[in-house]
């Protein structure tokens, strides 16, 4: 069981560039989430999904898009990168109806 995997681990973007952060889980979890964590702060929910084909906004969705075509994958898209999106991004998954979330190792993104 690999758990929750994220790629890439690190990335530097220029302002205005776009990229996709990949997230996959092999635990057959229905729920998947994207969080961002700024230095010294707690995690903020960007988007979440309760199953394939179903996504919804979290606290800070502006500037991001998601899709969930399969149970396993939940990519996060940044269309026009801005310095304010410099952060560490964590993907997580959970079994429906519980609060137990498994987190990935994170992607450290810098926008210059």
């Amino acid at each position: 069981n690999a758990g929750v995997t994220q790629t890439p681990k690190f990335r530097i973007l220029k302002i205005g560039q776009s990229m996709t952060l990949q997230c996959a889980q092999d635990m057959n979890h229905n729920y998947m989430y994207w969080y961002r964590q700024d230095p010294g702060m707690g995690l903020k929910l960007i988007y979440y999904s309760v199953g394939a084909g179903i996504t919804d906004k979290g606290e800070v969705p502006n500037g991001y898009n998601v899709s969930r075509s399969t149970t396993e994958d939940f990519p996060l898209r940044l269309e026009l990168a801005a310095p304010s999106q410099t952060s560490v991004y964590f993907c997580a998954s959970s079994y429906s109806g519980t609060g137990l979330k498994y987190f990935g190792p994170g992607t450290r993104l810098t926008v210059l």
Binding site: Y33, K44, G58, T98, G99, K101, F103, G106
Partner: protein, 113 residues
């Protein structure tokens, strides 16, 4: 969403018991209380979850009084490797729980030798 309040930081020494208290005055009837641990450059890791009274696992204990307006995470005999940020989360409803959890700033625990 129930708001939580935790101390910003705590210091302890190896071998001591550490208790971190979280206040959640407006907790709802169907809310659960969950604690996570986060090491630098890693994602949070689930520690323990409870609804009322006391829950214990191999890592920690969680004490929840009858009014459920606070909870205390107890770490027995901490070691240097327990130095981390600890988050208290309160979430709404079994069916909604997964998507309603909000992370606060957490408590930075520093364990010294």
């Amino acid at each position: 969403l129930a708001k939580t309040t935790q101390p910003i930081s705590m210091d302890s020494y190896e071998g001591q018991e550490v208790n971190i208290t979280c206040s959640h005055n407006n907790i709802a009837t169907n809310d659960y209380i969950t604690w996570y641990q986060q090491f630098p450059s890693q994602g949070p890791r689930f520690i323990i979850q409870g609804y009322k009274t006391k829950v214990t696992n191999e890592v920690a204990s969680l004490f929840i009084p009858a009014d459920r307006k606070s909870s205390t995470l107890s770490l027995p005999r901490v070691s240097l490797s327990d130095t981390a940020v600890y988050y208290c989360l309160v979430g709404g409803g079994i069916m909604e729980y997964g998507n309603k959890l909000v992370f606060g700033a957490g408590t930075i625990l520093r364990v010294k030798s």
